[in-house]
């Protein structure tokens, strides 16, 4: 039960010390973290009925011609809240929604944001459609159960895909999109606004919320240096408050600590289930009770192949 105690302590610490003011807990509340860059910090929690799927970060960037939305939250309600939040800031149209990866807490709001206007583009990694296709039934059933919906929500998949780098012009402001090798997932994409040196990292960065491995642990660690090297002075994580350049350190410690512990277990020929029961979560992270044992499982089934090639 110590784990639960830690999680609550951690959430309390976050709420007290960070940007999680009462105002920003509102499902449509945004902070202008840099000129024309608006960010909503979702709750650090699993999606469920009471939070309406508002459990991840999203934001939007306003150019001279139009607005790009980055991630869409975990329900059609969050998607609607995003459009309303844009309306409160500008009359310019939303011309793009960029999805950092296909997990439902970032993707499900797209159904409300999409089709809002002719010329609207929804953009993601070229590997997102296959990844989401393999999980559609699971995600729909999960969302229905967690959010207490009458029917399983439709999942809209972005129609435009990026492989490598791409630029979107919002009028006087260009966003740089970039896909990554397998890390948090096999289809991570980041959005960088060079004019304000703001990076939307998606779930390549977790702050406070236990990092979740649904891709490749070694790849994630290997690419963290390149992510930090993009030159961002401000990074919007997929979960948790906006951070400066030092905000990657805690996640790197979690991931490298996990990697080292799992490698030791493999050297000792410890079977998977015993490794899961033995490798404890470090203190300071929220939701370890949901994600840490799963991370050990993922790390183990990845690293047991490490010396093969």
């Amino acid at each position: 039960m110590a784990v639960f105690g830690r999680a609550y302590t951690s959430i309390a610490a976050l709420a007290a010390a960070m940007l999680l003011t009462a105002a920003s807990m509102h499902p449509g509340a945004v902070d202008e973290v840099a000129p024309g860059v608006f960010v909503h910090i979702g709750q650090i929690a699993e999606p469920y009925r009471d939070n309406g799927g508002d459990t991840s970060n999203w934001g939007f960037v306003v150019g001279e011609r139009c607005v790009a939305v980055i991630d869409t939250g975990g329900s059609q309600a969050t998607g609607a809240a995003i459009l309303a939040a844009v309306r409160r800031q500008t009359a310019l149209p939303v011309c793009a929604a960029i999805i950092t990866h296909g997990h439902p807490d970032h993707l499900l709001g797209l159904a409300s944001v999409t089709g809002s206007r002719a010329g609207f583009r929804a953009i993601a990694s070229h590997r997102l459609p296959a990844a989401v296709a393999a999980r559609t039934q699971t995600y729909r059933a999960l969302a229905q159960r967690q959010l207490g919906l009458e029917a399983a929500p439709e999942i809209v998949v972005p129609g435009e895909q990026v492989n490598g780098e791409a630029t979107i012009d919002l009028g006087g402001r260009q966003l740089q999109l970039r896909t990554w090798k397998t890390a948090h997932t096999d289809h991570d994409l980041t959005v960088y606004d060079p004019s304000t040196q703001t990076l939307f990292a998606g779930d390549l960065l977790f702050v406070g919320h236990t990092p979740v491995i649904d891709g490749n642990l070694a790849g994630w660690l290997a690419q963290t240096a390149a992510l930090r090297g993009l030159g961002a002075t401000r990074t919007v994580p997929g979960h948790g408050p906006v951070v400066d350049g030092k905000g990657w350190q805690a996640q790197t410690e979690y991931l490298s600590g996990l990697r080292d512990a799992v490698r030791t277990a493999l050297r000792q020929r410890m079977p998977l289930q015993r490794a899961v029961e033995t490798i404890a979560a470090p203190a300071g992270w929220a939701l370890t009770e949901v994600f840490h044992r799963r991370n050990v499982t993922a790390a183990y089934s990845e690293l047991e192949w490490e010396d093969t090639d």
């Binding site: 459609p129 999960l142 999942i155 289930q273 300071g284 992270w285 089934s301």
Partner: protein
């Protein structure tokens, strides 16, 4: 922000953790068993009829066979399962077949294993996919023709965990690599643990590409056979209920600490992967 983290430690006193976990699971037993439904599911009735017709099955046969499964599937794509015989395989009495059954999976017969006295112990560990709350069962057929069942209820994963593989391109790129090794020092006449790992995406073929509206074709491991000294000691018919990169831990009876273990893996496209383990070379 600063969150303070401690490096993860692999505690030597893992036992203490295990006991603590066990205790914490025991305390709220009343609440937990409340969400454990009846094992007499519709799916089980169908499987039972299909595989065993009217043959009697001893339920809760803990004196013959047990099943190890986690309380919750932490990762829906990789759920460790152990089938454990209560006694060694002897020519006089042994388990000749074991079925691993998952009531709520799209294909509930996850695996069937054929074993011999030379298997040494009828213990198999493997990993399966599992997305719903479900009963997981083992049915063992002993050499006298009797059937014995053990079962465990497993809760679905939290988070956005899904049964699909995590890196589809990587899985395909490494397709067919086999890791085959001993987990213990082989001793004559003593059951010795070995492990076979097959790098394979193990696709179910039930996934639709949202853009093309085409189904991804199924491609999975369907048969694994291990022989020792030319005699088959374990053969398994499996399907995509097995996790990506199918993994089996099993026993065999070495003689003189020598001889060859050979493994043959066949997938749904009839691709064959083989691997050989020479015992005299592994002993040191």
């Amino acid at each position: 922000m600063q969150t303070r983290t401690r490096p993860l430690k692999l505690s030597l006193s893992g036992l203490v953790t295990a006991i603590a976990v066990a205790l914490s699971l025991l305390l709220p037993t009343a609440a937990l068993s409340a969400d454990e439904p009846s094992p007499d599911t519709e799916q089980w009735a169908g499987i039972r009829q299909f595989l065993f017709a009217d043959r009697p099955i001893a339920d809760n046969a803990g004196d013959v066979v047990e099943i190890d499964a986690p309380f919750r599937a932490e990762d829906a794509a990789v759920v460790p399962i152990g089938l454990k015989a209560k006694s060694d395989q002897t020519p006089g009495r042994y388990i000749r077949k074991m079925w691993l059954l998952v009531d709520k999976n799209p294909t509930p017969i996850a695996a069937s294993f054929e074993l011999t006295p030379e298997s040494g112990r009828a213990d198999i560990e493997t990993r399966i996919r599992l997305e719903e709350y479900t009963w997981v069962r083992v049915v063992a057929e002993t050499s006298d023709g009797q059937l014995h069942m053990a079962r465990k209820f497993v809760r679905a994963a939290g988070g956005c965990s899904a049964p699909a593989g995590k890196d589809m391109e990587a899985a395909l790129a490494r397709l067919g690599k086999v890791k085959f090794r001993l987990e213990g020092e082989p001793q004559q006449g003593k059951p010795t643990l070995a492990q076979i790992m097959v790098s394979h995406p193990n696709n179910s073929g039930m996934q639709m590409d949202q853009v093309t509206r085409l189904f991804v074709p199924p491609h999975y491991v369907r048969h694994v056979e291990v022989a020792y000294g030319g005699k088959v000691i374990m053969s398994a018919d499996v399907d995509f209920s097995m996790s990506e990169n199918p993994n089996l831990r099993f026993y065999f009876l070495p003689s003189n600490g020598s001889g060859e273990l050979t493994a043959k893996v066949v997938d749904s496209k009839d691709l064959v992967f083989t691997s050989t383990l020479n015992l005299s070379k592994t002993g040191s």
